[in-house]
């Protein structure tokens, strides 16, 4: 009997240790969407990387500005060279923590609403961000989804007056980060 409980104890420790290992993805998607009466502009980054630590409730998301793809290549060029200055500031990074009312169980399929707060650094400027998100456990995957608004102005991103009406004052940022649970 004692022996059984000892092994159960070992097993419990082993699974806790396993669960503490952060999950990593290199194939996350991040979308910038700007709506204005003149046009809608969308830029997609399919190579967003992220790490999530469910035990510490920490999350880091990082991406290269040059990996954002636009429908029009000229827009992409302006975005990199004039607005985000990607040669000078190559990446955008978010570091934060999340809270959830229910504990996240990777063995149980479901959707867990979370609140994320942290710091977003882009174009050399760091701003506090707080937003709602979801952690979805389905099959062998944990998918983190979040959506929030940012103002280019807050990140010292200057939009020339000639196109100011084409770009929204607030840009919607959507991130979808799929993590493989088995890794």
């Amino acid at each position: 009997m004692k022996r059984t409980s000892f092994f159960l104890f070992l097993f419990a420790i082993a699974t806790t240790l396993f669960a503490q290992k952060p999950l990593i993805t290199r194939t996350g998607t991040t979308i910038f969407f700007s709506h204005s009466p003149i046009e809608d502009i969308e830029a997609i980054n399919h190579q967003s990387t992220a790490a999530i630590d469910l035990a510490k409730r920490e999350v880091v998301v990082k991406m290269l500005i040059k990996h954002f793809e636009f429908e029009k290549s000229l827009m992409q060029e302006h975005f990199n060279e004039n607005y985000l200055e990607s040669e000078k500031y190559p990446s955008a990074i978010f570091k934060g923590v999340f809270t959830s009312e229910t504990p996240i169980d990777l063995n149980k399929e479901g959707t867990y609403p979370v609140t994320v707060t942290g710091k977003l650094t882009m174009h050399g400027v760091t701003q506090e961000i707080s937003c709602q998100g979801q952690l979805v456990v389905a099959g062998n995957q944990l998918t983190a989804k979040t959506e929030f608004m940012v103002r280019p102005e807050d990140f010292d991103i200057k939009i020339p007056s000639i196109v100011v009406q084409n770009i929204a004052e607030e840009v919607k940022v959507t991130s979808i980060l799929p993590f493989n649970i088995s890794n």
Binding site: I24, R26, T49, K62, L64, K66, E87, P90, S91
Partner: protein, 141 residues
């Protein structure tokens, strides 16, 4: 009638040559023909980024770099392009080089664990150091 057709065809060809030359020269030069700005190895470039990203960005990002390292993996993405992963000797990440073109002979010569040298544009650092528009400059001998 036939003469007119021949004249028209000749005119088209004559017009096409300068157009082809003009458009051809307007293409961006490939990395293969660009001079290497920094030569290093995979553990060195990786540790530069992991220790001080801002400094490493100044040193490498946007530049044509030549990096040698031990080949860990060869992967093909959905679009069909190949990426080589070089060992950084750090468990946290690696050096990933996306090839702009690779011949099947080159790919066949690649051996996991052997040293290769690649040349490409350094894009920056995520968990890995990212190099794009890469070409293989030295294969395992």
């Amino acid at each position: 009638m036939r003469k007119q057709f021949l004249v028209a065809a000749a005119a088209l060809v004559l017009l096409a040559i300068p157009a082809y030359l003009f458009l051809g020269s307007a293409e961006t030069p490939s990395v293969a023909n660009t001079q290497t700005e920094v030569s290093t190895d995979a553990p060195n470039i990786y540790s530069s980024f992991s220790v001080d990203e801002a400094h490493a960005n100044e040193r490498f990002t946007g530049k044509v770099v030549e990096v040698s390292g031990q080949l860990m993996a060869v992967e093909q993405d959905e679009a069909g392009s190949y990426s080589l992963s070089l060992d950084s000797q750090d468990p946290m990440g690696k050096v990933v080089c996306k090839l702009s073109d690779a011949t099947s002979t080159e790919l066949a010569q690649l051996q996991i664990g052997e040293t290769v040298t690649i040349k490409g544009t350094c894009m920056g650092y995520l968990f890995d150091v990212i190099i794009e528009q890469g070409v293989i400059t030295q294969l395992p001998s």
